[in-house]
């Protein structure tokens, strides 16, 4: 072929005995992998275009297709791995920054998998969630330090605004533009049905979704896209996005080709113009500056809505969180380095930031140590994959979790990690109308509700096993956790004992 040739990463294996040449694969592949050879009546595949999104595999009515990893490998080298070498080739071809999507795929430690949960035996009986009431409801926001009474002895209830969640989970920020209208509608409807919240991301709020405002967090990011009075008033809370786990220290860049029609109107920028979110907020260079924005947003929303400050988990996260907790913010959201994205420079995604487990443990401890833990609620995200991850996060000190990757998986995403191409065959990370329509929000919202309902059942099971009947009683209860295969330092940061201790 040529010096630029890279052997395709995947091979399309078609079982010709099964293939009925219905051409569904061809019609469903926006990457144009499949084609029909009318002379011979057979299907052909061009795997150089395949991203292994599995859309064709899922829709093939006779299970005639599978996509496998190519076994054409470069000579083995523990230092120069296949992927590393190919990245060199790509950059030698293009001269450009490598782009990737979704979360860090590298085999870095996943601490959730090295933490085990306790269960009650004999002396403190477990609770059967099928027979006993279990409370998963949480309130997010600043909590009073002590109970205070007025001159008549009545309890004073003038606490800061709170978010009420039926379970300690929210759908984290994904902008309209990075994901489709139908993906947003699915999230909004599911959040409403579940009694939780979803997050607009930084792309503004489509006019059709103002009706879901009570279950919406509106985000204010460095690009300030789509931010105006009605937008701030529409949501149940306002989130200031300082950073994102997948690309800490980096802004965003939605190419002008995606700024069309409703996306342009919702972002309030001209069609075809690039939507550039600067790396910093240009008006925030200190906690004091942040405090100004927090208070400005509170002023704009008449102090009725909690303000969230979202930051990426980075090295000094405990000190940063301490500052935010003093800025007037009600909630701190911390995004770990495995968090997803619609597009990020590969080097940033794979090498910047720290694991959310460690960040959470150290932030919770720092805020406690400084006596300001009740100033804020903590929400953590960045690859919360299951109900047990949620339970572990709560026990490490979180008030609630943000999930996004799991949510888009429920919507059909197969983690092919090519969101940046804009050709999402599942209708999620795309603005092409013929692809967007592949995600019917009737189905999408139902699947999200199913997923969260299942998690809620599992959370109750795990809580019941520990003999805990309220999620609030689990928060920061690190005695319920033990580490496995962790060294002293890791256990110290996590604030947990080793299994067997």
């Amino acid at each position: 072929m040529s010096v630029e040739f890279l052997y395709p990463e995947f091979e399309v294996i078609r079982n010709d005995n099964r293939c009925i040449a219905c051409r569904v694969c061809e019609r469903q592949c926006a990457n144009v992998v499949h084609s029909y050879d009318s002379d011979n009546g057979i299907m052909l595949s061009d795997e150089t275009k395949c991203v292994n999104c599995q859309r064709c595999v899922s829709l093939c009515p006779t299970r005639a297709l599978k996509i496998v990893k190519s076994d054409c490998t470069l000579r083995e080298n523990a230092n120069w791995k296949d992927a590393t070498i190919k990245e060199i080739y790509k950059q030698a071809n293009s001269g450009g920054v490598l782009l990737s999507s979704m979360g860090n795929p590298n085999p870095l430690p996943v601490y959730w998998d090295k933490i085990l949960i306790n269960a009650s035996q004999v002396t403190n009986p477990p609770i059967d969630p099928l027979r006993e009431p279990m409370e998963t409801k949480v309130f997010l926001g600043k909590k009073p330090e002590m109970i205070s009474r007025d001159e008549n002895g009545k309890i004073k209830c003038d606490i800061s605004p709170q978010l009420e969640l039926s379970m300690p989970i929210m759908f984290s920020a994904m902008s309209y533009g990075s994901i489709s209208y139908n993906a947003h509608e699915s999230l909004a409807r599911a959040a409403t049905e579940l009694g939780i919240l979803y997050n607009t991301g930084e792309g503004g709020l489509h006019e059709d979704f103002y009706c879901y405002g009570e279950n919406t967090i509106v985000q204010v990011a460095s690009g300030r896209f789509g931010v105006y009075k009605d937008y701030l008033e529409a949501g149940a809370a306002v989130e200031i996005k300082m950073g994102q786990g997948a690309k800490p220290g980096i802004g965003g860049h939605l190419p002008g080709t995606k700024i069309v029609g409703d996306v342009s109107r919702t972002r309030m920028i001209p069609e075809g113009s690039d939507a550039i979110s600067p790396a910093p907020h240009h008006d925030i260079y200190s906690i004091e500056d942040l405090r100004q924005l927090v208070l400005s947003l509170k002023e704009a929303t008449e102090y009725k809505k909690p303000v969230i400050v979202k930051v990426a988990a980075v090295h000094n996260i405990a000190a940063i969180a301490s500052g935010i907790a003093r800025s007037g913010a009600d909630i701190i959201a911390i995004d770990g380095f495995r968090g997803g994205t619609g597009a990020a420079p590969t080097r940033i995604r794979d090498n910047v930031g720290i694991p959310i487990e460690l960040a959470l443990a150290s932030v919770d401890q720092r805020l406690r140590d400084e006596g300001i833990r009740n100033n804020v609620s903590l929400v953590v995200g960045g690859s919360i994959r299951s109900a047990s991850d949620v339970v572990k996060a709560i026990a490490l000190g979180a008030d609630a979790c943000y999930v996004a990757t799991a949510a888009v998986l429920a919507l059909g995403c197969h983690l092919c990690r090519t969101c940046q191409s804009g050709k999402c065959n599942w209708g999620i990370a795309t603005q092409r109308p013929e692809l967007v329509k592949r995600l019917n929000p009737d189905i999408g919202s139902k699947r999200l509700v199913n997923l969260m309902t299942a998690w809620r059942h599992e959370i109750k099971e795990l809580m019941g096993g520990m003999g805990i009947n309220s999620i609030e009683s689990l928060r920061g209860n690190r005695l319920m956790l033990r580490g496995i295969g962790l060294n002293e330092k890791e256990l110290q940061i996590l604030g947990i004992s080793h299994a067997g201790e």
């Binding site: 005995n17 293939c19 009925i20 569904v24 019609r27 329509k437 019917n440 189905i443």
Partner: protein
């Protein structure tokens, strides 16, 4: 009466309904055996252009032109469902001539075929609806 309705907003034009229909009415238990290497005879047809798709099948009209026009008495209404007696049909195609929806087509063996809501096969519910990946075809009362 429950009918099959297509929602063009959600139709992807993937044509799975056509294949599921042809399979459901093939009498075979395996789709590969039923459809591989053969012309298919679906009773539902995906219509549309570059921008919009929608599946068209028998509307089960209350006052059906096909039944009134059938020269062999093969078409009849049973409990609101327009049925065809393949034994009586001689393949004159007059029903195709009159059906304003283009929902009757030539089938195998020179007789015509049309959607009978999968009541005549072992599918139980319309196969097109069951197999639609995007709820673009529904079976409901309106």
């Amino acid at each position: 009466m429950k009918r099959v309705y297509a929602n063009e907003k959600w139709c992807l034009g993937c044509r799975l309904c056509e294949y599921n229909c042809a399979f459901a009415n093939s009498g075979e238990v395996n789709m590969v055996k039923a459809l591989k290497g053969k012309p298919i005879f679906p009773r539902i047809h995906v219509d549309g252009d570059e921008s919009i798709n929608f599946a068209v099948s028998c509307r089960h009209c209350k006052d059906p032109l096909c039944v009134k026009s059938c020269i062999s008495g093969a078409l009849s209404i049973k409990d609101g469902v327009i049925c065809i007696d393949h034994n009586k049909c001689v393949g004159c195609l007059t029903c195709i001539l009159v059906c304003p929806y283009g929902a009757v087509s030539e089938g195998k063996n020179g007789v015509v075929q049309k959607c009978e809501l999968c009541l005549e096969n072992s599918c139980g519910e319309p196969a097109c609806v069951k197999g639609c990946p995007n709820n673009a075809i529904v079976y409901e009362e309106r």
